[in-house]
């Protein structure tokens, strides 16, 4: 316990730098994944053929361990932050893509018909009707993705991406119990807190449903 307090008083800057790196890389990769997966998901919901291909592909990808995905990227892209970002994006895309596809496939046809009958254009229907209706399921996908990214970003430390995983791997290497507690505890809290915050954002964004 004393050692843990000691660490925080002597390594404050380092700790917050690693924490910042961890959060930064998680947000960055999730943002990139959203930019890739949402348009692709909408496309998949329109063309059954494309959907089938992507579903097969990502179904297989889900079976590959995340550690393996991270490590395969390394010899191909070199060390550092680049292979980690690519690998984490690959891990984050499937849940968002699949949920977006499902959300846009199961839009209530009557509502869209009503919007068309009211004279709304295609773009307006998409942004004012379809997107809000698809939001809950899409959001669930994004939540899954970001929690998964935070977990895998811990592993990404091993391939030189920085982040809180550094503390854990150092702790493992030196068998320093204090570092293991600090690293493991921080990652666990970060992941639980993110899930909690994402749930709160969802609740406040969909308040209109519970009037």
């Amino acid at each position: 316990m004393e050692k843990i307090v000691d660490y925080f008083s002597t390594h404050t800057d380092e700790y917050f730098m690693l924490l910042g790196q961890h959060i930064g890389i998680s947000i960055l990769t999730t943002a990139i994944a959203i930019l890739i997966a949402v348009p692709l998901g909408v496309l998949c919901s329109k063309k059954a053929m494309i959907q089938k291909v992507f579903e097969r592909f990502f179904g297989l990808l889900r079976i590959v361990p995340s550690l393996a995905i991270l490590m395969i990227c390394l010899p191909i892209l070199g060390t550092g932050i680049k292979p980690a970002v690519v690998a984490l994006v690959i891990l984050a895309v499937p849940p968002i893509l699949m949920n977006t596809t499902q959300a846009f496939l199961h839009l209530p046809a009557a509502t869209i018909e009503a919007a068309t009958a009211m004279g709304m254009g295609k773009a307006r229907i998409f942004f004012r009707v379809k997107l809000p209706l698809a939001f809950p399921l899409m959001y669930a996908g994004i939540r899954t993705a970001i929690v998964e990214v935070i977990a895998s970003a811990t592993l990404a430390s091993y391939i030189g991406a920085g982040g809180l995983g550094n503390i854990i791997f150092t702790g493992l290497g030196l068998m320093r119990v204090d570092l293991l507690y600090i690293g493991g505890g921080s990652v666990a809290i970060l992941s639980l807190l993110t899930g909690f915050v994402m749930d709160r954002i969802y609740q406040s964004a969909t308040k209109y449903q519970r009037i």
Partner: protein, 213 residues
């Protein structure tokens, strides 16, 4: 690529067997625990929701973090790994077992009771068979997740294919990493396809029963 396999088949084979062993032990242990827990929890919906939520919280803690927190308590090695893996599996298994058993048609349960079945008989001959597709899906998911997380357990010296991955990475040996990955996928894929087959068969059998009834 093939040459690497023929030259190092012993190393890869050992790691593969170790990995398979870890997955199997975890599966058997977690099935036992979840079966016992479900027998207790099936009586109270409130308690089961609470327990599932609790395991959900554990499930959302990244595995490396959980390993790190547990090492000071249980030490390095496969014991810690299996403990963590079993805890993760409880979420997947309990959720599927309990929702499967809860979703059994009330009328069927009533019919069973009317026929004079005891609650144990009802469980054994009606609820569990009807919940089988859901239970099998839970087992399938937990095997896939265990296979993946076991690779990470190599970081805490639990052995298995993760060892191949980590050492392949240290020496920048692409073939080693690829073979480690492929062997992992083989385990998960066989479990995935095999159990899906069984699920379909059970579903078909149940479908037949339902139409007859």
């Amino acid at each position: 690529m093939i040459r690497y396999l023929t030259e190092h088949y012993e190393l890869l084979g050992n790691a593969f067997a170790e990995h398979l062993w870890l997955v199997l032990v975890t599966l058997v242990l977690s099935l036992l625990v979840s079966a016992l827990l479900s027998l207790v929890l099936i009586r109270s919906e409130k308690a089961s929701n609470l327990v599932i939520q609790l395991f959900g919280v554990i499930y959302s803690i990244p595995s490396l973090a959980l390993f790190a927190i547990l090492i000071p308590v249980t030490g390095l090695g496969d014991k810690t790994a299996i403990l963590v893996l079993c805890a993760y599996n409880q979420y997947l298994l309990l959720r599927n077992i309990l929702t499967g058993m809860r979703n059994v048609d009330r009328n069927l349960l009533e019919a069973g009771t009317g026929m004079g079945m005891s609650s144990w008989q009802l469980l054994r001959t009606v609820q569990i068979p009807l919940a089988m597709p859901s239970i099998l899906a839970g087992i399938r998911l937990s095997i896939i997740s265990t296979t993946g997380i076991t690779t990470i357990a190599a970081a805490i010296k639990a052995g298995g294919l993760g060892t191949v991955l980590f050492s392949g990475m240290r020496t920048m040996n692409v073939y080693k990493i690829l073979w480690g990955t492929i062997l992992c996928v083989v385990i998960a894929l066989i479990a995935d396809l095999g159990l899906k087959q069984i699920e379909n068969r059970v579903e078909k059998k149940l479908g037949g029963m339902r139409t007859e009834a």
